[in-house]
Structure formats: C-alpha cells, structure tokens
Symmetry: C2
Subunit: 408 residues, 2 copies
C-alpha cells in the first residue's frame, strides 16, 4: 500500500504525550500522580464566559464570518485598547485557538525552504507546524543560568541567512516563563528591521505576569510592518477547550493573506466566540483575569521556594506564564527520570509527573538534565508534589549509584 | 518590506466571496436579495444539539483529547454503526469541521509535488488546501449533460501519473448534487487499487439524498487501506458554526499520521462536541436528520420544476446535497451576469444572487455559462427567486442585444 506522506512520518509525537500511557498505568496501580507535565490549568473558567455560551440565542447555528463574529472582534479591539494598544478591525482575525493563529502567521510569512529563528527551549508544536509547512527551525540557544533571556543580538545575527524569514518566540514563554524586557523586544525589532524579518510573538500568557509589565510586540514602535501577534484566550481565561485565539498585525499584506487562509477553513467556533464577547463585555472582566493571575503568582512563589529545598537543583524565578525550567544535576537523561517516577517510584502512594527538558530543544544533546514544571495545581499540592519529586530524585540517585557499583 | 509567502499570494479569493460586497451594496439600496449563492441552510439546528451545549456541566473548559472527547467518539461510532458501517475508535478522529478533516487527509496522503485527481466542478476550497500544501490538482472534467457523473474509468486512468497520490471528491456533491452510484464508487475503488491511490471521499451531505441510497466510501469492500472518509455535521444537522467533523479510515498508518496532526492543533472545540454527543445519544436523532432531508427534498423538487420555466436552461435533477448546476445559454460569462443581477437589475425591488460556475472548475475556460444554485431557502422563496432570475435573464439578454446592436 502507498505510504503516508514523508512530512507526517517525520512528525515526532511530543515526549510528554509518549509518557502519558505510563501515567495512566501508574494510576491503574493506585498511585496518585501529580500532573505538572502539561499546561492545562485547574482554574474554573469565568462565569461570564460560560453564560455567553449557554445564553447564546441561536436558532440556526450558521457559519460565523471567516474573520470572526463582529461582536467578538469589537470586544477584542476594546480588550487591546484597554491594554493601551489601538488596533482596527482590519488588523485582527479571530482564529481557532492560538495554534491556528500561529500556523497562519507561519504560512503567511514563510515559503517552503525558508528558515525561522526560535529561541530554545520552545513549545514543541512550533516544530510540528514548521515541518508540515516545509520550514526549517534554526534554534537560538538560551541558558537556564540567564533565566532564558536572549543572548546578545550579535549572536542571533550570526544565525541569519538569506533564507531567514522570521524570528518567533513566546513571551512570557512556554516552557520557561521568561518574559522578554522592553529592551530585548526593541533589540529584536531593530534586528528584524535591519534584516527585513517578520517578528512573530506568541503571547497567550501576556496577562500572567508577576514582575512588572509583559511587553507585547504590538507596543514596539516602528515595527508595524514586521510584527505579528499570535494570541489566545486559553490560558488567561482558563478556557483551553474554547479554541479561540486571534492574530493581529498592522501589515495589511499579512492580514489580506491571513484572511484568505481564514476563508479556506470557513470559520472559528461560534459558541466560544460568543462566550468571549460576553466575557469581554462584562465590566469586571479585568478582575476575572487578575484573579487568575494572582493564583498563578502565588503558586509561582510557593513552587519556587519549594524547589530551593532540592539539593543542586538550578532554576531562576520565572517572570510570567505558569512554567519553570529546572536543571537537575543528579539526572543526565530526564526522560528516563520521568519514566522512573512513573514506573518505579512512589512516596506513600504518590508520584509526580513533569516534562523532560530535551523535547523543548531543537539542538541535539541539549536539555537532557532539565525538566519543565507546569504549576497548574493549587499550592498545597505543588508543595507536596515537590516533596515527592525530591524523594524521587534521591531514590533515583541511589539506584543509579547501586547500578554503577554493580557494573563496576 | 519582506513580502508575504508565494503560496498565500497565489491563493485566490472565492468568486462568491468577491461578489458579496455587491450584494451588500444592493441591500443598502433597498433591494431584497435572495441568497442562493452559499451553502448555508436556513433550517434550525436540532434542539437536542443545542441542549447538549447549553447544559454542558463544565467547570474548567479544558483541552479536549486531541482525537476527540470519548463520549463524542462513542456516539459517532454508533452513528456509523446505525448506517451499517462498523468502525472502531482507532479508525476515527474528531476534527474542526470537515475542512480540517479534508486538510488532514490531504496532508497525510500527499507529499509536496504530488498530484490529486478531482472531478470538476468541485468545491473551490479543495484548491486552496492543495495550494497551501504544494499539491497539484488534476481535474477530471464532468458534464452537466451527464448529471456530472464520472466519465469512463479509462478516461480517468489517462490522467494518472507516477505523482498521483489520491483521487478525491464529494458525494453527494457540492456544487452539483451528483451522488455517485455504488457501481461508480466500486469502479473508482478498482482504479485506486490498481494504481495504488488513496480515495478521499468528502460526504457531509450523505444523509441529504433524494434518490435511493448515498453510497459511502466506507461501504466499498476491499478498499480498507485506501479509503479515507471526510465527514461533517455542518449540513445534516444544520450546524455549520459548530465546526465539528471527523475523519475515518481503516488504514492505521493514516490514522497514526492524522493523530499527530491532531496533537499539533491540540483539540476540537469542546462545546460543539458535547452538543453532537447529546444529539446522537437522543433516540430520535434520525428523525431530526430525516426532517432536514425531507425539507431539502421538497425544495429540490420545487426548484427543479421552477427552473424548467426558464427557456433554454439546462440542468439535471440532482440526487443529493442542496445544490444544482444550471447552464444558461443566454450567458457566456456568468460572473458578469451575477454582477448585473446585483448592480443593475431588480424585479419589484428584488433580485437573486447565485454563484458563477467557472469558480468551481480548475480547467480554464470551462463553466462560464453555468451557475450554481444552493436551495437553502424555503420553497415559496425559491419559486420567487427563480421568477426573479428568469426576469433577470430576459433583461440581461435584451441589454446585450442592445449593446451588440449599438456596437454593430
């Protein structure tokens, strides 16, 4: 039989996904698993959003306009105005989650064979979208010791070739929680203008910021023709299942192209668009987002403090989002360690699942002693999950020493 | 500034979409427009679907599983079993509308540079998806005089090259309403097996059938490794805005590849998945679909009869879906005629908008004297819309004769 396409064969399943069956098996053995491995918050979705869905007066569930329901678009324009960014309806398209917004940005800016620069570690689905579109990912390696901030622009500049079409990143970032400073964003903008690159900034966590202000790419002056914002309500509304995001750019060629892509897929889901409009039209919407932000802020502080009790663990306090990267000197293959935690370890019937670090790097051999923790559980559970993790690390080290001794 | 990608530049806006501003302008002038130009039914969405959405007990609107919510998958398996097709949960993935199901099928079966055979006239978004994936569309021209049934397989076989990866079509079809007979489907299957091709069958209108049974690609024996069903609830539930479809194949390599594509985009919208599960778990769901089918059946008969009153109009009675293609001998550029109807004509303050035929053909120069009518309005309106169309055709012919006389 004819084989499936080379691109889909080359697509890697995410290492987190590959490990999920082990967690299922552990739960079947009666082990309680603290799931710090995925970015799925446990925080209730705001009531005004849910009401907007439930109370939608719909007789015929028609296609929504391809670029978004007008009411939703207007609500989003006001949302950006509230954060000090004035955009018009020609500069925004509602998308099926941030995922589609990202895919549209990539397809619009890059030809097959083009290159995109991405600071690593990065969200693994970026690679999947790039692969499916024939685009090469060129990683900009960032370091845990620098809190994953960008290296000097001269280093990034060395990676630019005639095929480089865009630089892209998430800020505040998945998987590290780094939020680029205004100076960093401006420096990226200067580089992009010098080399005529697009800047694709993925900002679903923009409101989940714990140290000052998260600078949006839309706030960088002079970058109007270069900047493309990829946005999503999934995280700041705890509404991942809504599948609503948007893409914003002041470059009208980009928006015209994206409009054509919107038309091919017809429309974004109606119910969640109406939920979002109702949420944003509620005068208290900022309060709801601030509540969510505060929860993650406390969790970050609690988690960071708890992590200090793990001997040798290296991490910086993340500025935003709900992730932290941790280097574990006791571990040289964190995927093996995660498997150990799920298959062999428990502390009083409990274990902790985290994400192996290497899956977030494009460079080979990097990140194998790192893990990503998503602080998506309440604080008491985070503290306990770290206790379990710490005990697991000790058991893992002991086991490895025994194995080494036996081998020796 | 750097240009947008060549692919997005090459994407054509649909001619129907391009003409919409003219309809808006006509309405602003006070003209009532009968919209027979798009496949958006006016029939209410079944109440059990809406209840499933409204009554969903959701605290945290999480990501749904990438391949679909288990309850929705089970309901869909039962739906296919009810039509006599037994499939397992490994053979089905819930998608974001039929659009995504189609894109996944194309991406999974074709490498960039591959060719796909498509009987024309066809749904224009097929071309858009093919273009975005670097795939060449090779049209199989079908004729209005044959009711758009397939030409002899020997003719199709001549179009097959070493690069041909798949043959794809919709049945019952948009834009012609043709439903391939079991014999045609079997012949396509035999050809696909002989040349090792995938068969992608897009069947959102399968239940909207007025002459016998609509044969699904899943019903063709021996085609298990070749057949991919693209499906959608948009039309048979009058739920276009739900954005729920699915892709079904018994080829496990195909399903593994599609699962990776599902993971990249995370999940299909939760609310509409729950609406669908509630709809399909209602013991009366077939009755709801049958009600919708009957409405379109009556409309088809009424419309077809009304069209017989237009002198010289050529059309065959479509077997399914809710479209009919009509050849208008008075017209040699139906896009110009549609513009005339919107810009210059009205009958007692009313006009009719249809879709120009050429936009549904990939072959140049074909279909310019054809239009597509979507019978998405109630019968009395359809009768009046055809009266208006007929008067418009007479006025258009008279105008053209006058212009010709003046020029001569």
């Amino acid at each position: 039989m004819r084989s499936v396409s080379e691109r889909t064969k080359a697509l890697k399943g995410s290492p987190i996904r590959r490990l999920v069956p082990l967690a299922v098996a552990a739960r079947k053995r009666g082990i309680h698993v603290y799931h710090l491995n995925i970015g799925q918050p446990d925080i209730p979705t705001p009531e005004s959003f849910m009401q907007g869905v439930r109370q939608a007066e719909i007789d015929v569930l028609c296609y929504a306009p391809a670029s978004g329901i007008p009411e939703t678009i207007q609500a989003l324009l006001k949302f950006y105005a509230d954060m000090g960014v004035e955009i018009t309806e020609n500069e925004l398209r509602v998308t099926i989650g941030g995922s589609e917004a990202f895919a549209f940005a990539l397809q619009t800016t890059c030809n097959p064979g083009d290159e995109v620069l991405i600071p690593e570690p990065f969200y693994p689905n970026y690679s999947g979208h790039a692969l499916m579109n024939g685009i090469k990912v060129v990683p900009i390696t960032t370091r845990i010791e620098d809190g994953f901030h960008l290296p000097p622009m001269e280093e990034i500049e060395k990676l630019i070739t005639p095929k480089t079409a865009a630089i892209l990143f998430s800020t505040p970032g998945n998987p590290t929680g780094v939020a680029y400073t205004r100076e960093e964003m401006q420096a990226v903008g200067t580089l992009a203008k010098k080399h005529n690159l697009f800047v694709i900034s993925d900002e679903p966590y923009r409101e989940l910021m714990y140290e000052g202000h998260a600078t949006s790419v839309l706030e960088i002056p002079g970058l109007e023709e270069h900047a493309i914002l990829v946005d999503s309500i999934s995280k700041r509304l705890s509404a991942c299942g809504a599948r609503i995001g948007c893409v914003v750019s002041r470059n009208q060629d980009v928006m015209t192209a994206i409009n054509k892509l919107c038309m091919i897929r017809l429309s974004a889901p109606t119910f969640a668009q109406l939920g979002l409009a109702n949420f944003l039209n509620d005068p208290n919407y900022k309060h709801d987002i601030e509540n969510i932000r505060q929860k993650f802020h406390s969790r970050r502080d609690t988690l960071f403090e708890a992590l200090q009790t793990i001997p040798g663990a290296v991490c910086r306090k993340p500025e935003g989002a709900f992730y932290i990267f941790v280097k574990l000197p006791q571990v040289d293959d964190s995927e093996e360690f995660v498997k150990f935690m799920l298959n062999e370890f428990n502390l009083d019937g409990e274990t902790t699942m985290v994400a192996p670090g290497a899956g977030f790097y494009a460079s080979p051999g990097v990140g194998h002693n790192e893990i990503r923790i998503a602080y998506v559980l309440e604080e008491a559970k985070l503290v306990r999950a770290v206790e379990v993790l710490k005990a697991g690390l000790e058991a893992y080290s002991t086991l490895r020493e025994e194995v080494a001794a036996t081998a020796g």
